[in-house]
Symmetry: C2
Subunit: 324 residues, 2 copies
């Protein structure tokens, strides 16, 4: 009997659902829209139908299958309570008892568990990826924002309230850039994909760099992939964007090391596809900021989760972790 877990990733506009085996392979997947209206009962009903649909289709592939549970990654998800609480990017207001509602439709599955997407990614890395066997590591996900998941003594750090691991909101620059959360100078405002764009625009303005290819893009057009392509082509502005992003990220990672001394820090997400452009300055800056006792000890590694499936796979890993 092949054991599998269901992973669900709830994003702002799209909800992805997949059936994942113990090796992290997605056997079947599906999508439904995340509603833009605050109708949680309808959403739970639609989601349950979609889950039942893929369970049916995976059973058609292989009759001898056992489904161990459902893992869910969602913004502002509370691991302890199974709730989604005041998520700014979702239509649902207040505190939604998500796990409780979903469980009603899956009474045969004892394990239904949720956390935020960065924590799910960290557990995915631990169960399926590069962190197998590691007891102390951190995961930073660079995308629209910067998420993080922390693992200490082999266990996820949820904190006293279920919300720990918000390293994107540690402060790097006093009175610095406005962050998505409204505060100033947070890591996310510098090291997310939009943070890189902000750096690019600051540099264009600073150098009056009319000859950079980035100077031909509007603020709303430019994205981190264009910056990467310009860097590959040798554009000085784009190269400096990566240097600066890495300097800020390395400074932030050093603070995480001073807290937790992890064996490794994994980086995941769009900007990390730039490889050495981002990893080298990040590593250099982190080392520069570390106490001697931590120098040349902490690895910075690319995530081994496949970009397309990582969110589903990470969410499904919650189930395996729960059953350990």
């Amino acid at each position: 009997m092949k054991k599998v877990a269901i992973g669900i990733d709830i994003g702002g506009t799209n909800t992805a659902i997949g059936v994942v085996d113990k090796e992290g392979n997605v056997m079947v997947k599906d999508n439904i829209a995340t509603p833009s209206k605050d109708d949680i009962d309808q959403y739970i009903s639609d989601l349950s139908d979609a889950i039942k649909g893929i369970i049916k289709s995976v059973k058609l592939l292989n009759e001898d299958i056992e489904i161990l549970g459902i893992g869910i990654g969602a913004p502002n998800a509370n691991y302890y309570k199974g709730t989604i609480e005041k998520a700014a990017n979702l239509a649902f207001k207040g505190i939604v008892p998500f796990v409780e509602l979903l469980k009603k439709n899956f009474r045969e599955l004892p394990t239904v568990v949720m956390t935020n997407d960065a924590n799910a990614a960290a557990i995915g890395e631990m169960i399926y990826g590069g962190a197998k066997g590691m007891k102390n590591f951190a995961m930073f996900t660079l995308g629209t924002g910067v998420g993080s998941g922390l693992v200490v003594n082999g266990e996820m750090v949820y904190g006293h309230d279920g919300f720990a691991g918000e390293c994107g909101h540690t402060m790097l620059v006093a009175d610095g850039r406005v962050c998505g959360c409204g505060a100033h100078g947070h890591l996310e405002a510098y090291c997310s994909a939009p943070g890189m764009k902000r750096t690019a625009f600051e540099l264009l303005a600073y150098y009056n760099a009319t000859d950079s290819p980035l100077a031909n893009k509007s603020y709303n057009e430019l994205d981190s992939k264009m910056i990467y392509e310009a860097a590959v082509a040798g554009d000085k502005i784009a190269l400096e964007v990566f240097e600066i992003t890495g300097e800020y990220l390395g400074q932030g990672l050093a603070d995480t090391v001073h807290h937790l001394s992890p064996e490794a820090i994994f980086l995941f997400g769009g900007p990390t596809a730039a490889g050495d452009f981002i990893f080298n300055p990040t590593k250099e800056a982190m080392e520069e900021h570390l106490l001697p006792i931590f120098k040349n000890k902490i690895k910075i590694l690319p995530s081994k989760l496949k970009p397309g499936d990582a969110a589903i796979v990470g969410a499904s890993a919650l189930v395996w972790k729960e059953l350990e």
Copy 2:
């Protein structure tokens, strides 16, 4: 039979030894000099004699006693290896296998365990103090430096190498004050007792405050107790020192919350005797820097460990924690 643990605190000049009961009461204590020469064998011999001496004297007090083990707090102590590694303030060079050496003289005691003093203080708080029953909390010790001990999921955070919890060396100010470690802008350079003195001297210079009582003290004379006394007497410079120290500390604590979301953060050490002078601005600044999801949730509390005995008591707590 009354169960007790031995606590040893190794400081730069003095080594304190005590026998501590399960309630955290020090039954007997003694002191020997921490040597200024790198002769570890002599020190282990002297320390062993002193330990045997207090064991003898406590047995005279109460025949029905069982000694469970020895806990040691020391600078740069590695919990996993039982070593003291390259401690700047001790005479011993390189890596000293301290636990192994001491165990040779106490073969009847299976539990001999060591960590740094701030971690020992955190475990002391958990076993005997205000953190009883808490699974997630942090301890900051403000003194000559700033130490920290972090507890996650009920376990001490030692990290992959045994050295985690160096929050005094997280960076608050880019290119800020020189820290004892040689880097710039670390929390310790602002929030330790000497950090407060540095703030006082900056303020004296900024305001040209000839009428402050602090203006009559040399840099080497001034200490944090004098600043406290001046604040009590209403001196504006001294009051502003506490405001600024609290602002920096609160900013640093917010970074710790964004990592770990602890139930409480305990403050210990000389400067915390100033009570509201330091707790109020610290609390205010921390709240200001927190994500909404963490606001008005995290307690900042004074340590319940008695200042005089805290180091011995904290070290002894390692034994109880180990035997849990």
